[in-house]
């Protein structure tokens, strides 16, 4: 299992187009991939399937939120690396 943290810095967070890009990228890998973050108000831990657009959207990741990407499977290293790169690149936004 591979795990890595990253701060989401693009303007809209994991919504709209960035959310779709994220899910599309995740879908390329065989591994089970999930995203965890903390609810800013209740500090409750939330968890979503990275291949589910509905799961990612309802996670409520806004600009400045720290998320943990976890992958489990044969290509877990590549999966985490690619998703972290996507977030760090601000999903190609300006």
């Amino acid at each position: 299992m591979k795990k890595e943290k990253v701060i989401v810095n693009n303007q809209v967070g994991l919504h709209a187009r960035p959310a779709s890009l994220f899910v599309q990228e995740a879908a390329k890998y065989q591994s089970d991939i999930s995203v965890q973050c903390q609810d800013p108000e209740t500090n409750e831990n939330r968890d979503a399937n990275a291949k589910s657009i509905l799961g990612i959207l309802t996670l409520g990741v806004f600009q400045g939120t720290e998320i943990t990407i976890t992958a489990d499977g044969e290509d877990e290293d590549d999966a985490v690396k690619a998703l972290i790169a996507l977030v760090k690149d601000n999903f190609g936004e300006e």
Binding site: Q11, H15, A16, R17, S20, V23, Q24, A27, N49, K51, S52, I53, L54, G55, L57, T58, G60
Partner: protein, 577 residues
């Protein structure tokens, strides 16, 4: 006559017959006997068919409407492929012995409600997407035809509860003059579609609009968010006159794009363009620009992996100047700071780069960057009407220092025997409140000013325009900003200098009367805005605008000011779609 108030979803007005968009009901009956494996096969088949339909619609949308519209169907496909959603539907069939219809409907509704509960317009739209996809699968399972608009034969106002992308993609847009929906908001799909088509829309007008008679006349006032069904003859006539007037202005604007902007009382103002490369130059000329009020030079630096040489810059500037022949072109020297990543410049990230060492401040510290740019500009000026402008000026001494560097460059070129135009006008951007407050002093140092309203607003209002939480404060329609604009123009005119504006405000239809009234000399905007801006100016009286501007500057906020202009000059309200 009956009038309904809703939300202004897309501006403009229209009159047309009502077309009630009535969705076919999806009647799902509960099956007594369910064979889960059969239901799973039905479900998978229906989902595959739905995917095929969506792919077709996606291609149609790509061809016929915007990329943004097409994106919606990509999102629909993602919803259909969503592992969580599909898992849930299958669970209902396998574990709860439900039919494919009921499993799909219940799951779709549950996910949709979860989105709707987020109390956010973005999620509300996603909730609709989920229902839209769910209904598509249900229609396939139940064998129900797709389109309720097959009866649409003449240009009409579509009246509906709310419309989904699937509803509208199959719609013949040439037969739609407006939308009126019972539900929805200013960001719902119908609103976005209407704005894209440039036709009026009223959203959230209430369920009573759904009972208005098919084929009866309705007036849609998208600007005010009003729908008037079965209007009185006198009301209808008044609206038709206003609609005609706005149409004439739009048509005239394109026809007259290359004519000067002369006000009703014969005052001529300059309408020029903001550009950042050669493509922009071409578009500016096509749209009737009379020159360039702002030539951004950053593109040369951002596209390169090393400092662009004097020669590279000379060729780029020359290329642009040649497009404009003898027309004035104002070149703004490099305007970057710590927010931009230009590796070869080694700019240090600053805690607050908007208040940091940027633009002229940086150039004065770094002559190895500044001088090649000035030399390139000087060399390119031969045979053209080039003006040079320094950005981010806060004090008079900065202007004197910049002019000194420019003179050094001129002397060097003279010694080398290289030509440059002798009569180049030198100006500054007025975008820092200190420059606006001391415009009388600065006016003595330069030939012209160009007011940068985007930065002037954020510095005056102390509100970062890139921070969504405070961006609404960074609005040039606040009287504080407009009063500074007035002061700058007045101070310059007293010194016999001219003033332009290259911020977004200069091309904003609702601002044109105010700026004309404040006696701005030059309006610089993005190329596509030029024809309409010119035509608006042609329909204004400069003396009358002076009075309007004076009144505007006594108001308190952007909403009041925009409302005031719309009331005083109704034709502009119709045009600001």
């Amino acid at each position: 006559m009956i009038e309904f108030s809703g939300i202004s979803a897309s501006r403009g007005m229209c009159v047309g017959p009502v077309f009630q968009f009535v969705r076919q009901k999806l009647e799902i009956t509960v099956k007594k006997q369910v064979n889960p494996s059969e239901e799973l096969v039905r479900l998978n088949l229906a989902i595959d068919t739905a995917k095929d339909q969506i792919d077709l619609i996606y291609k149609k949308a790509l061809k016929e409407s915007s990329d943004a519209d097409a994106e919606i169907f990509k999102a629909h496909r993602m919803i259909l492929e969503d592992p969580e959603l599909i898992k849930e539907v299958k669970k209902k069939i396998e574990k709860e012995n439900q039919s494919a219809e009921i499993a799909m409907q219940e799951t779709g509704m549950a996910f949709s409600e979860m989105m709707a509960a987020m109390d956010d317009e973005y999620f509300a739209s996603r909730a609709m997407d989920i229902m839209d996809v769910t209904n598509r699968v249900l229609r396939i399972l139940l064998n129900v035809a797709e389109s309720p608009t097959s009866g649409l034969k003449e240009p009409s106002v579509i009246v509906a509860d709310d419309l989904t992308p699937s509803d509208t993609v199959m719609l013949d847009k040439s037969l739609v003059v407006g939308f009126c929906t019972a539900q929805g908001s200013a960001t719902s799909h119908t609103a976005i579609l209407a704005r894209g088509l440039g036709i009026p829309a009223v959203s959230g007008a209430g369920n009573d609009v759904l009972t208005q008679k098919n084929g009866s006349t309705v007036i849609l006032d998208g600007t005010k968010g009003k729908a008037i069904f079965a209007p009185k003859e006198s009301v209808l006539e008044e609206y038709q006159k206003r609609i005609e007037a706005a149409k004439v202005i739009r048509e005239e604007s394109l026809k007259n794009a290359h004519d000067p902007a002369t006000t009703k009382d014969g005052k001529v103002v300059e309408v020029v363009s903001n550009i950042g490369n050669v493509e922009g130059a071409k578009s500016a000329i096509e749209n009737g620009a009379e020159g360039v009020g702002l030539l951004r030079t950053e593109f040369l630096y951002l596209e390169q992996s090393m400092l662009p040489s004097e020669e590279v810059q000379y060729k780029a500037y020359k290329g642009i100047l040649e497009e404009f022949g003898n027309m004035p072109v104002i070149l703004r020297t490099l305007d970057v700071g710590g927010d931009k990543e230009i590796p070869y410049m080694g700019l240090e990230a600053e805690a607050n780069s908007f208040l940091g060492q940027r633009a002229l401040r940086l150039c004065l510290e770094r002559p190895e960057i500044f001088k090649p740019q000035l030399r390139a500009a000087l060399r390119a000026s031969v045979g053209h009407n080039l003006k040079i402008m320094f950005p981010m000026v806060a004090t008079t001494s900065e202007v004197r220092e910049a002019r000194k560097v420019l003179e050094e460059c001129m002397n060097e070129l003279k010694k080398e025997g290289v030509l440059y135009a002798e009569d180049i006008e030198i100006g500054i951007m007025v975008e820092i409140p200190s420059a606006a407050m001391t415009a009388d002093q600065l006016a003595k140092e330069v030939d012209f000013f160009s007011i940068g309203t985007n930065d002037l607003s954020q510095y005056t209002m102390a509100a970062d325009r890139t921070n969504p939480k405070v961006a609404s404060l960074s609005n040039a329609f606040f009287p504080a900003v407009l009063r500074l604009v007035r002061a700058v123009i007045k101070a310059a005119h007293e010194e016999g200098k001219w003033v332009g504006m290259c911020g977004e405000l200069a091309g904003e239809p609702l601002a044109l009367p105010i700026l004309l009234g404040l006696e701005l000399d030059e309006f610089s905007m993005n190329p596509p805005m030029i024809p309409l801006a010119k035509q608006i100016i042609r329909n204004l009286d400069s003396e009358e605008m002076k009075k309007i501007a004076a009144e505007v500057l006594e108001l308190e906020n952007p909403a009041q000011i925009k409302g005031f202009i719309k009331d005083k000059i109704p034709f502009i309200a119709e045009l600001t779609g």
